[in-house]
């Protein structure tokens, strides 16, 4: 190992990055765009559900129920239907995501003290959203029901001195407003770090293969280890700069609070980079052209994003798939970053994830390095 040679190679690499405007744009604009997209545009919060109403009862009670829906803030009444025939066309056209039907006799049943039903029809195209709407609907209806119940209780109270009741009061910790931006921003941070370091490392190596300079480097006294360090350390550096940049944007522009220790976050990010740089080196050993490297990169990128819990919670996945997520290093890093960001916990809680991540990082890097040296020799 000759430190001087490694530094020279790093310097050359950084000059090349500095001269490539596309890469510079990718490095500095992409993270901010992604923060915007995932923080705001791709908000997983469900608001302003387009609701159509078919009120067949037309009584004070039915109107009161409908008013509960619109007053909740989650539903916007977009149509008032006069018959069942209109439901199909409305849902087909996508003008409403939900139809609330209050059948005839609703008020009558209520006043008689009998159980009654209402019907909601949901557009299940986006199943996740439909499930959220279902939850909102149950909430509104339950609230309405309990108010009726309470009103009746007032009457009964004289005769029944005590009435046991269990009331669930949900208080959300760590993200009290349940804003998805708070949940997504740590994820975007992980993704940016992952994508940029993995892709740039592999591209930097494969580009030398493509233009033929790698063959030129092999005949120089540069060893495989020096070559690997010289090609990866610049991207470790760039990755960490990128991390700080994205973090600052998240804190100062998106007003995301970091509950835990930022230095710890930084150190553990460096640990995660062992994995991404290792993958980058591995990709470079299986790709002949930059085009191939990019495609292979996406082969890793998709399962990493989908199975890490970045967008879809791991707990909602089928059990078999949940097992597969244990093989995704990003999953552990995401848990670490969200833990530090949102819950403010440290190593005392996160040590298992840190340990697994370290094992993955060292393992992947060692395998990739071995393969790289063998290919070069």
């Amino acid at each position: 190992m000759n430190l001087h040679r490694i530094l020279r190679l790093m310097k050359k690499e950084l000059i090349q990055v500095r001269r490539d405007r596309r890469i510079l744009a990718f490095l500095f604009i992409a993270p901010v765009v992604q923060l915007f997209l995932f923080g705001y545009a791709v908000s997983t919060d469900v608001n302003h559900v387009a609701m159509a109403v078919l009120d067949e009862d037309r009584t004070a009670a039915s109107r009161a129920l409908i008013q509960r829906f619109t007053a909740s803030g989650y539903f916007d009444q977009v149509a008032y239907l006069s018959g069942q025939a209109e439901i199909d066309t409305l849902l087909d056209a996508g003008r409403a995501q939900m139809v609330l039907r209050v059948p005839r006799g609703f008020s009558h049943d209520l006043s008689r003290g009998r159980g009654t039903e209402i019907q909601t029809l949901l557009d299940g195209t986006d199943s996740r959203k439909a499930r959220v709407i279902e939850g909102y609907t149950n909430g509104v209806v339950r609230l309405y029901g309990s108010e009726i119940l309470r009103a009746r209780m007032q009457v009964l109270r004289a005769r029944l001195p005590r009435l046991p009741a269990v009331d669930a009061r949900v208080r959300v910790w760590y993200n009290p407003e349940l804003k998805s931006v708070n949940f997504m921003v740590p994820g975007v941070l992980c993704m940016v770090l992952f994508l940029i370091t993995m892709l740039m490392t592999s591209l930097a190596i494969v580009r030398e293969k493509e233009i033929g300079t790698l063959e030129q480097l092999v005949v120089t006294p540069l060893s495989a280890g020096e070559l690997m360090l010289g090609k990866t350390l610049p991207f470790l550096l760039i990755g960490l700069i990128e991390f700080v940049l994205t973090l600052l944007t998240a804190i100062f522009i998106f007003r995301v609070d970091v509950a835990g220790s930022i230095p710890l976050l930084f150190v553990l990010s460096a640990l995660f980079l062992l994995t991404t740089l290792g993958l980058g080196i591995f990709i470079s050993t299986v790709s002949k052209t930059q085009h191939e490297a990019t495609l292979t990169g996406f082969l890793f990128f998709m399962p990493f994003i989908l199975l890490s819990g970045f967008i879809f919670p791991v707990e909602n996945m089928p059990v078999g798939i949940q097992w597969a997520t244990y093989l995704i290093p990003l999953r552990y890093f995401l848990e670490i970053v969200r833990g530090i960001f949102m819950r403010g916990v440290g190593l005392e809680v996160l040590w298992p994830q840190v340990l697994v991540l370290a094992v993955f990082g060292v393992g992947i890097l060692a395998l990739a390095a071995a393969r790289f040296s063998k290919r070069l020799g």
Binding site: H4, R5, R8, I15, G212, Q216, V219, P221
Partner: protein, 307 residues
């Protein structure tokens, strides 16, 4: 310095069932300009890569400057230079940055580097372009820069794989001027080329065909070894003339060079036989010529080795 710069013994390289190089043995003296000649797929690049230590041989051995190419690669790398077939430069670095990078990778001292850089920029005439990005150089200049990069560490043996393929004739001449300067400085050159005129500039030439050494010697020896005689025929219509001559008994092959036909044949009274065969066509010119390396090469490529 040993008396043999490059010593190749039974060098063999196979890829699965494919034999890329079949037992090559050569001995090259210091200061030689040794040319490897052969059609595409003959094994030229494989030989180059084996000697530069990039490929491991399947069998046999090679010593350069007395050191084993494969076992003592690390020590040898500082003393040899290798220029692959494709110009290997960093297009997004300037001429000076490319030179600096290679000097640093070879751990050339600062004083030595500055001296060498000035020398190389002067004799490659790249001095006015030192701050230009390499990608903005012309093809000939790029190739001179690639050569300059491989010369930064002052190698004693230089391997050049088809160094002038795809370069214009003026740049080729210029390139050879630089190569002769190196030879005068005592550098041993080992180069491969598909060009006959370039092979004629070598002190010795080895002809390869399908991984086998077919012939090795000075260009003069190779030409003298040609069997039969060569006739140059200019006749009209040319295609008809070529067809008739090819069918003539005693003719080995007929090659087209522009409007001229080179006929290689064994017939005793060749001129009379050719004239008779072309009866009815316009015979513009008929003369005996000395075979060029191209003719030797064509004879080899058509499967008939010289005697």
């Amino acid at each position: 310095m040993t008396d043999i710069a490059i010593d190749i013994q039974d060098l063999r390289k196979t890829y699965g069932d494919l034999v890329a190089l079949e037992g090559l043995s050569l001995a090259i003296a210091p200061g030689e300009v040794f040319g490897l000649l052969g059609p595409d797929g003959a094994g030229k690049t494989t030989t180059m890569r084996l000697l530069a230590g990039i490929l491991a041989p399947s069998d046999g051995s090679a010593r350069v400057l007395g050191m084993d190419v494969f076992r003592e690669a690390d020590g040898l790398k500082r003393r040899i230079g290798y220029m692959p077939q494709r110009f290997a430069l960093y297009g997004d670095l300037t001429v000076a940055e490319n030179l600096l990078f290679f000097a640093n990778i070879y751990s050339v001292s600062r004083a030595e580097r500055l001296k060498r850089e000035a020398e190389l920029l002067a004799f490659s005439r790249l001095e006015p372009f030192r701050d230009r990005l390499a990608m903005h150089l012309s093809g000939g200049m790029k190739q001179k820069l690639a050569l300059a990069c491989t010369l930064m560490h002052t190698p004693e043996v230089l391997f050049l794989d088809e160094p002038t393929t795809g370069v214009d004739p003026v740049s080729r001449r210029e390139f050879w001027r630089i190569l002769y300067t190196l030879v005068n400085q005592g550098v041993t050159l080992f180069l491969s080329t598909p060009y006959m005129d370039e092979a004629e500039r070598c002190t010795r030439v080895a002809m390869l065909n399908r991984g086998r050494l077919v012939r090795c010697g000075t260009p003069g020896e190779l030409k003298a070894g040609m069997r039969g005689m060569m006739l140059e025929v200019i006749a009209d219509p040319m295609r008809e003339a070529k067809a008739r001559l090819t069918a003539l008994p005693g003719v080995h092959d007929v090659q087209t060079f522009g409007e001229r036909l080179h006929v290689r044949l064994d017939t005793a009274d060749a001129e009379a036989a050719v004239t008779a065969a072309l009866d009815g066509l316009t015979l513009v010119s008929l003369r005996r010529i000395a075979p060029g390396l191209e003719d030797v090469f064509n004879a080899l490529a058509s499967g008939e080795g010289p005697s």
